[in-house]
Symmetry: C2
């Protein structure tokens, strides 16, 4: 039987495709997750792929309908409608991947020239004798400086406490880890030099174990932030701390314990010890940053909402309770404002948005959504209280992106087509599914532009005095009128942020050249759905970049490169922060932004187009 | 009745002296302690004073016997034989003072231009508002830098943890203490800026509370070193640590607790809080330095006896367990060698020995005696294991310098004249008394130059198979043959150190221009006695300077002046240390030095003179 070699990028998954097998079927067989809702009918248009090299069957009528001539010429196809006619290299855009697939893709490396803050040197010392009476620490420093042309002046106190015994047991030869002018770790040559990058999210903590010598990621792991037991969102955690100050220490301890455990797990994966971690970088929103360090948070929630500290910090890990190399430091990237934290700086760093030509809008969607607009190198930022709706919170059948969550949804005539995570039976609906749902309901004219569920559709019922739309009959999964209101508030907050930034920069929506969407939720959403309801500006799809956990990437970059650290500091100090509630026309903009539909704000007016 | 105004210097004690009252009687009435053994007979020559201005009665025959014409012309008199004939200013040499008096003199100020490592600034911040959203820490740093032309970049982590609350409660006006580029303390303006200098001795811990702004000493206190419960001397404490490593932490904790208590007591004297202490300087011998920091000590007692660290250190007080200002540092002066520590550096700093013209020998006598010889700016040092004899240890009726201890002693014909501390009934004999005893026994030909108690003297008895000399009949206070052996070993060790340094510098004894004797014991001894037994070189008395607790003075100087700190570092790095046991002719020199009597080592020979 004729077989062709296929190569799915950017995953690098290779395999054979039989002559009559569709690319979708082949991909699934090879374990490559491509989204599809319509049962390979070619109607949902979810499974778009690009054939980068090689040839394939002629386009079907669905494809001719769905793609422009230019797109087809560029190799764009629907995977369910296409079978190869030669060896092929196929590129998967992020929006065609399933959630599970995307989580794997997130691990992709950013290429940064390693320029680590900690460097390791092998050093041989002369044995002390009655004619060579130098002190142990001075002996180490002098040998280091002489043998490696360094200018090292200090040995960490904890190291000093073991230095004399260790040097003697190692027969005066060892490996010294040097940071600035300080020796922060000692070991037998050769041992690993590990770095740990932490993205400290309100909900999740992501850890990346990195080889500092070459910048390679050795292991990745995400865990839930155990602070959740003290409140799902930042505001409730801060309220808890204000009411009972000792909670601040409980929260700090919980985070530190979680990071310690994460470090143990990550190190176990590569057979290392946490004592080999010689540098940590932590990014998080300002509240998570402050709670991690034990800094006060009350001023974050009282006008004018200022951080305790904005600048980057270097703190000994042991002073925070971390079990890493005895003298190792934790570097915290700088914050921007009370509600725009180091994670946003890390995102800007990773996406290189500040260097982009033209106008770039970069946003990280979450309970709080931070948005930056870059125009000619000038960066303006706002923070929008978008709430938990897009994380499944405050939504009747909302859930986090987990097995059985509806992650894609389409209303085709009267039928509801959906895809669940892991193709498991549906048990709820996660953020990207919720966004699809509201967009599809609006496009199908089941809700009006004010977000009201219209009468008349056979799936619209009343229950407990409120209307709801039944997505799945058994088990019942519905979208209630209240759910729609929550979503509208969330999307209005985000859109208001974008509009305020455009106005502050005297820009129109059409001038945006690039729209970067970062963060877990942002990576999984259907951009067309977000455009359809007016959450994101109506721009050509190629303007959008869904970049995954860019904050984590930025943390990794700052971990392995001092230049990137300096760049982060420079970005943070450049950003002009606008307090949203203080912006001119804020209320008017917010009200307009809460309507559904594509729209442009021009001359203060609203022009709606479906 | 005719009265004259008298002024006793350097104490600055002023009063009236009646026409026929002796200076000694007047001094005692005014609480000025002048030594006297002979009951004002003019025979013991202990009460030498110098009349600096004013006139007095004609010299008596005892004075004409005791002083040279030049001395009398220079105003030298015996206080018991002299009464003023006008208003007088009288200078008391250290050797004429009683121990109690000297302890008071020790508190004299060294004049150093204050150049403190921590400076305090009053700073007013703008209140944050929606149009001024700077973070609290950044706001503080910027205001400080702008208002005081500083280049301050960091705020201590512990301060950050309270900063936001404090700034708000202080209405955005405060006092910031800055060290290098770091804010280490905050308070309401104006509050005190205190420094604490600690001389961490094996036996005693001396603390000096200093006003950092003007360098004035506000309070002084000495306490016993509680480590004594783990061994009287360094070697036994180190042995304890080697046998059971957790003892290192017990010793560290004991020291820290003692310093914390000392700080509380000193602050209480001036109505301050220990949180107002913004800088601490600690000096001590290398072992005390290491035990205080929790550094390893085993290598100190194994050849080649090297310290774990020699260079000066700056460590956050809280990392050592000190309760001072939250961000304050402890500065530890540099060590020189395993048995020549930061206290010796501090002594050299305080006495300015390194800058002296000609040849200067500076020594600090204790269980371990450190000796430095300075010649043309070149410093050479040795350490001598002089043992506890001069502190009253291993001596049958030896005791520390406390009430009732015989501190001065003279054998006049057959009578024993002595003076006790506080003029209390005798209960034992302290270091200076022991030294006088051996010198007087030798000069009275009761012991020979080998240290053997001769037969024949009616006060020499045998008891428990050993000879002893009875000083006091009831309660019996004796000097045994074994005591004499201990003293001989001690004096031999010290003298060997001096000789080795002279030989290493190709110097003869007669070339020594200045002999500085520091430390508690050194300040109280009779220099003529030390010369008589050959412990110190036979030099004119004006060559000797007894400087009291010069290590404590040096610590104070380094506390208030960054220049002095740099000077200490420079001294430590210049010192050429000689391991005594490694010196050529060590054994020969030691054997010769163990004989009693004034002597000179020339051409390897010994020439004895009484």
């Amino acid at each position: 039987m004729t077989e062709y070699a296929v190569n799915f990028e950017p995953l690098g998954r290779r395999g054979k495709c039989q002559k009559d097998e569709s690319l979708l079927a082949c991909a699934r067989r090879l374990g490559v997750g491509i989204a599809s809702l319509c049962g390979s009918q070619g109607t949902c248009q979810c499974c778009k792929v690009q054939i980068v090299s090689g040839t394939a069957s002629e386009p079907t009528s669905c494809e001719l309908d769905g793609f422009s001539f230019q797109e087809l010429k560029a190799g764009w196809r629907l995977a369910c409608q296409t079978h190869p006619t030669s060896d092929c290299k196929i590129s998967l855009p992020a929006e065609s991947m399933t959630t599970t697939q995307r989580i794997q893709v997130e691990g992709l490396e950013v290429t940064v020239v390693p320029e680590p803050p900690v460097r390791t040197y092998c050093v041989k010392l002369a044995t002390p004798s009655l004619s060579d009476l130098q002190a142990d620490a001075d002996r180490l420093l002098e040998a280091l400086n002489q043998q490696h042309q360094l200018d090292c002046h200090r040995v960490d106190l904890e190291l000093l406490r073991n230095l004399s015994t260790q040097l003697r047991s190692w027969n005066w030869e060892c490996q010294a880890s040097v940071r600035d002018d300080e020796v922060i770790a000692l070991g037998l040559w050769p041992s690993q030099q590990l770095g740990l990058a932490i993205d400290l999210g309100t909900t999740k903590i992501a850890g990346y174990l990195v080889d500092l010598k070459n910048g390679q990621t050795l292991a990745v792991k995400g865990v839930m932030n155990p602070q959740i037991s003290h409140g799902e969102d930042i505001i409730s955690r801060i309220a808890g701390v204000i009411n009972s100050p000792e909670q601040a220490w409980q929260l700090q301890k919980l985070t530190v314990e979680a990071i310690n455990k994460l470090a143990v797990d990550l190190c176990a994966e590569v057979g290392a010890s946490t004592e080999e971690i010689v540098e940590v970088v932590v990014v998080g929103n300002t509240a998570m940053h402050h709670l991690f360090l034990g800094l006060p948070v009350s001023q974050l929630v009282h006008s004018p909402f200022v951080p305790a500290v904005r600048q980057a910090l270097d703190i000994k890990g042991r002073d925070l309770g971390l079990y890493i190399a005895p003298g190792a430091y934790v570097h915290l990237l700088p914050n921007i404002a009370g509600f725009v934290g180091a994670d946003h700086v890390a995102m800007l760093l990773a996406t290189e948005a500040p260097q982009a030509e033209g106008v770039t809008v970069a946003l990280d969607i979450g309970t709080n959504t931070e948005v930056s607009l870059v125009k000619n190198g000038r960066i303006t930022a706002v923070s929008c209280a978008s709430g938990p709706a897009f994380e499944g919170g405050h939504i009747k059948h909302g859930m986090r992106a987990a097995s059985g969550a509806i992650e894609r949804l389409r209303i085709e005539s009267d039928a509801i087509q959906y895809q669940t995570i892991d193709d498991a039976p549906p048990i709820g609906i996660c953020g990207s599914g919720i966004l699809d749902a509201i967009a599809q309901l609006y496009l199908a004219d089941i809700i009006d532009e004010s977000g009201r569920l219209k009468d008349g559709h056979h799936r619209v019922h009343s229950h407990d005095n409120q209307r709801q739309f039944v997505l799945v009959d058994e088990p019942a999964i519905v979208i209630t009128q209240q759910d729609l209101r929550e979503l509208q508030l969330a999307k209005a907050a985000i859109r208001t942020g974008i509009q305020v930034l455009l106005e502050a920069n005297n820009c129109s929506e059409s001038e945006i050249n690039q729209m970067i969407i970062a963060g877990a939720f942002g990576s999984y959403i259907s951009v067309p759905s977000a455009i359809a309801i007016g959450m994101l500006p109506s721009l050509p799809l190629e303007c959008f970049r869904q970049v995954g956990n860019a904050a984590g990437m930025g943390a990794k970059m700052a971990l392995i490169s001092l230049s990137k650290r300096a760049e982060a500091q420079s970005i943070a100090s450049q950003v002009h922060y606008i307090e949203l509630a203080n912006a001119p026309n804020f209320s008017q903009t917010f009200i307009q932004a809460s309507y559904l539909g594509r729209y442009r704000l021009e001359n203060g007016g609203r022009r709606k187009t479906k």
